[in-house]
């Protein structure tokens, strides 16, 4: 992209796809004569992540954003395409040491911490697994330091997760993610299970840590307002594909793809300016039977014959990448 001089991107996805088998059980298929069924959750996604930036992926449920996160950290294998970390394919043999440089923060801080483990063991697990240090005293020191870094106290090492509130638990998850000294964090809806005042604490903490430790974030969220606070660049996903990828300022100032505009319009108006909202029509189609052409065409006010038959490619438009015939043909004024 533009910063080609800036050597290799930290992470590059090339035409990454992931299919899931959603067939009925084998016996049913044989008796009823139904074929196997595949759901394409992520469809030929390509994007890059630069060192030190925050890229946000937004979209409604089922758009494949969490699958992308899981593909990157290796919880799923891609069905097709390549994921490269500093130019090395993560599927190749040389990649074994690379995974430890990335960590993941999950949405639900109640489900992601083992209730039977003390905070000490939870946070120390990556240190032990990665064999960063063996001395128990050093591990305890390091855990205490990490807890202070996320706004807890070293005494919390001896407590169990149930003794903490949701926001504090998410702080523990962040401490755990940081304990292996990663450079890259994949955050899957890290604040959507939290109350707003706590969400603000966690978002502020995450930006402070990014500045201090030079972290790179992939931030998955459905909430565009949250995204506008944390992201340098934003990718909008719809039905497993990228609809638009822009610098955050550009995306919020001049959204291009009709779906991005619809998402921005759907945000409740806190200022109560009384501006009329464009009524949002329709729902996300069944991903098992995506509509032909552009997946958004049944809900799109600008759809024409071409949109209903030919799938738009992700093409540059100004500084953005947009997958929309109407934008590329100039039918929509942006």
């Amino acid at each position: 992209m533009q910063n080609a001089a800036n050597s290799v991107p930290l992470l590059r996805l090339t035409e990454v796809s992931r299919d899931f088998d959603v067939s009925r059980p084998w016996l049913n298929r044989v008796l009823e004569g139904t074929p196997q069924q595949w759901l394409r959750a992520v469809d030929a996604m390509s994007f890059e992540l630069r060192r030190g930036e925050t890229l946000a992926l937004v979209g409604e449920s089922g758009c494949g954003k969490s699958t992308v996160a899981r593909l990157i950290v290796g919880l799923y294998e891609p069905t097709g395409g390549r994921i490269e970390f500093e130019g090395i394919d993560l599927a190749s043999a040389d990649a074994s040491g690379l995974r430890r440089r990335m960590q993941m923060i999950f949405q639900d801080p109640y489900a992601s911490l083992n209730p039977r483990w003390r905070v000490m063991d939870i946070v120390a697990e990556p240190i032990r697994v990665l064999r960063l240090t063996k001395s128990p005293a050093e591990i305890a020191d390091r855990v205490g330091e990490l807890l202070v870094q996320v706004g807890l106290s070293p005494e919390d090492r001896e407590k169990y997760p149930h003794e903490f509130s949701g926001g504090q638990r998410q702080r523990i998850s962040i401490a755990r993610a940081l304990s292996g000294s990663p450079e890259f964090l994949v955050c899957d809806e890290p604040t959507s299970a939290l109350d707003v005042s706590v969400q603000a604490q966690i978002l502020n903490l995450m930006s402070a840590l990014q500045e201090k430790l030079g972290l790179t974030y992939l931030f998955i969220s459905h909430n565009l307002a949250v995204v506008s606070h944390v992201a340098d660049r934003v990718g909008v996903m719809y039905l497993g594909r990228l609809a638009e990828l822009s610098d955050a300022d550009e995306l919020f100032a001049r959204p291009k793809h009709p779906y991005t505009r619809m998402l921005l319009d759907a945000i409740p108006d806190l200022q109560m300016s009384g501006k009329a909202r464009t009524p949002v029509a329709g729902e996300v189609p069944n991903p098992l039977k995506p509509p032909p052409g552009c997946a958004f065409n049944p809900r799109c006010p600008h759809a024409n014959e071409r949109c209903r038959s030919e799938r738009p490619a992700v093409l540059p438009h100004g500084t953005s990448l947009v997958a929309c015939h109407a934008v590329q043909e100039g039918r929509i004024r942006v």
């Binding site: 409604e60 449920s61 509130s165 949701g166 926001g167 504090q168 109350d195 707003v196 005042s197 706590v198 969400q199 603000a200 604490q201 978002l203 502020n204 930006s207 459905h222 909430n223 565009l224 307002a225 949250v226 506008s228 606070h229 944390v230 992201a231 340098d232 955050a248 300022d249 919020f252 100032a253 619809m262 998402l263 921005l264 319009d265 759907a266 945000i267 409740p268 108006d269 806190l270 200022q271 109560m272 909202r277 009524p279 949002v280 729902e283 996300v284």
Partner: protein, 332 residues
């Protein structure tokens, strides 16, 4: 204003536990005029859902109403026996919950569920009930209502199911709808559709709505007045505009500040990024450890001696009522 449709006075909800009694809702009072939409906003554990459950008489034991009274159109409903309350629920108070799947019976078609509800509460023939059900379904925006009448809940998407639940709540033309997080389980684009629908229906039918949510955006779009709850008490109550643009209670101020907003669309350049969100330090106290005096005082940036000794009651602050000692002199 005429006689209030719903009047809640000094309501207390308690949970007896082995280690003593927990007070989850602690002496809250408000009223709702016919046709009005009152938002109840607060973070989890603030007692907003329990307030709603107490009003519709569905508090789960061991939770119980330990004090105060609830009046619907002048009639006291918090002391009614279960059977009588059951008849009021559905007929005069409709309810909408967060998860439409749990509000619908998976074994019956939505048509059967609607017709049953209509026949229970209204004196009509089965044929009339059926046509009323179909009319309701198309009113809440379900396309091809007639053919979807015989479908089961699992054949609908989340947004469509919530529309069915709203149709169910409207069956008997209730005077009041208690909607507990009606849009929380839905995607943003669907959420906007449901908000618009609720608002239109409340206006067209003259139904009052008690809208319980944690999402200030939903309140801003829908409600006429809003009550901000904290630790089982009302911190501030007043017209939506006032609470959003000029919050009085330090908790409401913090809450409004901590909501991420889409940054200024004209703000160019990287400087616009990473503005720190206002944050309230700490978190809401647990029910076992509600501080004396004002429950918010340990987190309050403006606290003074009086706050940890005496509990403030809501007092008039302009068009609002605010439970905060900062405003004591002005009203005294």
């Amino acid at each position: 204003m005429s006689e209030p449709l719903l009047e809640v006075k000094d309501l207390r909800v308690e949970f007896p536990t082995r280690r003593g009694t927990l007070t989850a809702v602690d002496g809250i009072s408000f009223s709702l005029a016919p046709g009005e939409v009152l938002g109840v906003v607060g973070e989890s554990g603030a007692g907003k859902s329990l307030t709603g459950m107490a009003i519709i008489g569905l508090l789960e034991p061991p939770g119980r109403i330990a004090g105060g009274e609830i009046r619907l159109e002048g009639q006291r409903i918090d002391t009614l026996p279960y059977e009588q309350m059951r008849r009021i629920r559905g007929r005069r108070i409709g309810a909408i919950f967060q998860d439409p799947l749990t509000s619908l019976n998976p074994l019956y078609t939505i048509g059967e569920q609607l017709v049953e509800t209509i026949l229970t509460h209204l004196d009509v023939s089965p044929a009339q009930a059926r046509s009323r059900a179909i009319a309701l379904l198309s009113e809440v925006g379900i396309p091809a209502a007639e053919s979807r009448f015989d479908h089961y809940p699992h054949q609908f998407s989340g947004g469509m199911r919530q529309r069915v639940v709203i149709a169910l709540a409207l069956c008997a033309e209730p005077r009041l709808i208690v909607a507990d997080e009606p849009t929380t389980a839905l995607d943003v684009s669907i959420q906007a559709q449901i908000i618009t629908l609720l608002k239109r229906l409340a206006r067209d039918h003259g139904t009052a709505v008690l809208l319980i949510t944690h999402d200030m955006g939903v309140i801003a779009e829908t409600a006429d007045r809003v009550a901000v709850m904290y630790a089982g008490r009302i911190a501030e109550i007043g017209p939506v505009r006032e609470v959003i643009h000029a919050p009085r209670h330090p908790y409401s101020v913090g809450l409004m500040g901590s909501i991420p907003k889409i940054r200024e669309r004209t703000g160019e350049g990287a400087g616009a990024r990473r503005q720190h969100l206002v944050q309230i330090e700490g978190s809401m106290p647990r029910l076992t450890a509600i501080p004396p005096g004002c429950a918010f005082h340990p987190r309050c940036p403006k606290r003074f001696e009086r706050c940890d000794r005496e509990r403030p009651e809501p007092m008039a602050t302009g068009a609002n009522r605010t439970a905060c000692w900062l405003y004591a002199e002005r009203s005294e």
